[in-house]
Subunit: 180 residues, 2 copies
């Protein structure tokens, strides 16, 4: 295997925000030439596939300013510094939906946009759901829905479900139904 690494020559910090920061790295390419890489730093995230006993997935309807659209997503949230991903997932599920889960399984972890961002998302499955306490952030406004798999497939066709983690969640669910 070839060494494809790009060595950092210099890093210029552009922006430090509340959620993300931005830097531009000058890098040495494998052939010795130089180039610039624009890099967004993100604290990381978790998301939860929660299926009710009635075989419906819990989704959160939420306005997303970057898209200027209100879309349906699985419950998710940013990690706090040093927070264990599963603890974060348990917290986010309860805060956003009012559900607690008796059983947790890690499904997969992935980078959402490895070309320009380091956001790393841990996807969990939550089972044995029971009632907890909703507690939204002060700038968070959401509505809950619970949809069957065919309803989710239709929502993907319509574009109401249109984000990577929720599409992955539904594909996992579909696969599990095929296997069971």
């Amino acid at each position: 295997m070839r060494n494809l690494e790009e060595k950092t020559i210099s890093t210029q910090s552009i922006f430090q925000g509340r959620v993300i920061s931005l830097q531009v790295d000058q890098v040495e390419l494998p052939n010795g030439n130089t180039s610039n890489r624009e890099i967004v730093k993100h604290p990381g995230a978790v998301a939860v596939v929660a299926i009710t006993p009635e075989d419906r997935i819990i989704l959160v309807r939420q306005f997303r300013k970057p898209l200027e659209k209100t879309i349906y997503e699985i419950p998710a949230g940013k990690r706090e510094a040093g927070e264990d991903p599963q603890v974060c997932a348990e917290r986010e599920l309860e805060e956003e939906t009012g559900y607690r889960a008796g059983k947790w399984n890690h499904l997969v972890s992935f980078y959402t946009s490895p070309g320009f961002a380091d956001e790393y998302l841990h996807l969990y499955q939550a089972d044995e759901l029971g009632k907890g306490q909703v507690n939204l952030d002060e700038d968070e406004f959401v509505e809950l829905v619970e949809w069957t798999l065919p309803e989710c497939v239709q929502a993907i066709s319509r574009g109401d479900i249109c984000d990577a983690k929720t599409v992955a969640a539904i594909l996992f669910w579909q696969n599990q139904l095929h296997q069971s």
Copy 2:
């Protein structure tokens, strides 16, 4: 359904880069309060699920500076302004891998990180593969591999496959095998 929209009060442009740009919008929340949203603008992307007649998926080994890691991804690339997504997918598949496909199907489109970025990715399936011509960008260094589904599942466990679009691609492939 409640109106969850956040109205833009003002937009501050922070950075205009080669690939992405960054702005901070001050918004009016549904309850009348104000907040800031940090927004990355991206030209959009395409990615390709290409399965060989030997039932192997074509992957590209590539160093990703935001992760400081070399990972395996399905062939993908950024859209040029006004470019049709399928034309872009055909171009990227051939440029990165040297494969052309006789048959194209759109699988799904999704936002990779709707919380902070508008990157929209179109995922295609490419069939009836034949030989074309590799033509990499001058700052693009990649190696090709072709893996079976069990090899991909192992690579996900190891963390060598760790990006959203490639995980989605493998879940689609798994689902298709279950259905056939």
